[in-house]
């Protein structure tokens, strides 16, 4: 699977080159401007970044589970690299959300349940990356990191339902049956999400390739020492 992802990297890159301009056109030209102002267009990439964040954190959990079952280092590499991307996209989500909140709510940050649970998610996976960075060849620590990542994934449904279950001022646009926005805006949001998915997979392919090269260098150094 990991080899297939590295091989698909180029295709994902080309797909992004086509889809990203389309998503920008949809967000800036096709979607109507809301009465609140032009800043509302931040929302399209905010949702797309959040989607990629969820996707990669989901992949961390799946790869961690595979690592616990198969004890294959490749799955740990996949989990760690997906974790990096998850943190990158959750960071972008938080920054974009803050840039939207300033003109909309007149504050950069508020202790809203959706925002707090997202920040907790970010802290969980930053901690996960720190554990992985300290693990090196410590198998026990790697197994602990895998369990930590799987448990941390439980925060995602909490993030999603926080705006429904608790009193929240965060817009809750993704609801079953009712999108809560005009059709054109919904299409622009879907276009951004579709464009971000291959872009994220392209970056993951790039990151996995670096990891594979690192392993190759290590192996070659070892064989040079022993010959």
């Amino acid at each position: 699977m990991i080899q297939a992802l590295i091989r698909a990297k180029k295709a994902m890159g080309y797909l992004s080159l086509v889809l990203v301009p389309v998503s920008l056109y949809m967000a800036f030209v096709y979607a109507p401007e809301e009465a609140t102002g032009v800043f509302q267009r931040i929302f399209y990439y905010h949702v797309a970044a959040a989607w990629n964040g969820y996707l990669f954190i989901g992949l961390v959990a799946v790869a961690s589970l595979m690592y616990l079952i198969r004890k294959d280092e490749q799955w740990n590499d996949a989990a760690r690299t997906a974790g990096e991307l998850g943190v990158l996209f959750i960071t972008l989500t938080l920054i974009l959300g803050s840039l939207w909140a300033r003109p909309a709510w007149n504050v950069w940050w508020t202790w809203d349940p959706r925002l707090v649970t997202t920040l907790i998610l970010w802290f969980i996976y930053v901690a996960y990356l720190l554990i992985q960075a300290g693990a090196e060849s410590n198998q026990r620590l790697k197994r602990f990191a895998a369990v930590f990542a799987i448990v941390g994934f439980l925060d995602i449904p909490l993030v999603h339902y926080s705006a429904i279950l608790w009193r929240s001022i965060h817009p809750n646009v993704i609801r079953a049956g009712d999108p809560g926005m005009p059709f054109e805006m919904l299409l622009a949001m879907i276009a951004s999400v579709i464009a971000f998915t291959p872009l994220g997979l392209y970056l993951w392919g790039q990151r996995l390739e670096v990891e594979q090269l690192k392993r190759r260098v290590e192996k070659l150094k070892e064989s040079l020492l022993w010959t």
């Binding site: 032009v38 267009r41 931040i42 990439y45 003109p103 090269l213 260098v217 070659l220």
Partner: protein, 60 residues
């Protein structure tokens, strides 16, 4: 408008910077792989010629 511009700029700078740093790392590592493979090959060749020479001296 400022917030919108800042938001999209941050996204693209973030993604390009990450992708560029990965590309640079891959390039550096690929060069290292090439150097190590060449070193391993020359070490192997040196070892085989040494054993051949030792074999000839043994027979003599």
């Amino acid at each position: 408008m400022t917030y919108l511009f800042a938001a999209y700029t941050i996204v693209w700078i973030g993604i390009f910077a990450y992708s560029y740093s990965l590309g640079q790392q891959a390039k550096r590592l690929a060069a290292q792989v090439e150097t190590l493979e060449a070193a391993l090959k020359s070490q192997g060749e040196a070892a085989s010629s040494k054993s051949k020479a030792a074999g000839r001296t043994g027979r003599a």
